[in-house]
Symmetry: C2
Subunit: 116 residues, 2 copies
């Protein structure tokens, strides 16, 4: 139950009609996974990486946190479907899943162009 297939489409926040309770409960976990400064930086670090992916060992050095804590945060992001996990030899590489971020972006996209 780790990867989410149908996380796509969702009514943007202000598209004329309010979003349904079911849709809210579908998107909320994505936001919940991102609603943490550490996880936000993790995603940012991975997304900003030239290769589009980052090794856990590198991510670990970017924080003053235990390896266990970073691993936990990565697990949360992976479980939410935001990160892809790829084990190569001894190292594990995480990459952002563009579709997931796009789903979230879609939420706020239309909302931004509210009345001035």
């Amino acid at each position: 139950m780790t990867s989410d297939a149908g996380l796509a489409c969702c009514t943007p926040l202000a598209t004329g009609a309010a979003m349904s309770a079911a849709q809210a409960e579908q998107v909320a976990p994505l936001l919940k996974a991102l609603a943490d400064s550490v996880r936000l930086r993790l995603v940012s670090l991975i997304a900003a990486s030239p290769s589009g992916e980052a090794c856990v060992c590198d991510l670990n050095d970017a924080f003053d946190l235990t390896q266990a804590t970073i691993s936990h945060h990565l697990k949360v992001l992976h479980s939410a479907g935001l990160l892809d996990r790829d084990k190569r030899g001894v190292w594990v590489y995480y990459a952002v899943r563009p579709a997931a971020l796009a789903a979230v972006a879609n939420l706020f996209d239309t909302a931004a162009l509210a009345p001035a």
Copy 2:
């Protein structure tokens, strides 16, 4: 400490350089406020309202939750700077603060156009 003045600009998730720890800690509260299905629906309901605002009494009817709980959620959204509060007579009207939503949208905007 309820309204936030400098919630604007923030490095989008994948703009080439990773976001700083300070920026992450600035944006995370906004996401945290939105990372709840009830609050997401509240914002959606208010944003989708024709007048751009909604009375608490109406919002209250849209959920199977106590009035105290809805009031609490509205307080969280208001404290995060996402909602404006306007008391008119006996009723209180909440309206979305476009700038706050735009700040969040900005985060994911550039991120969506990651490598294919």
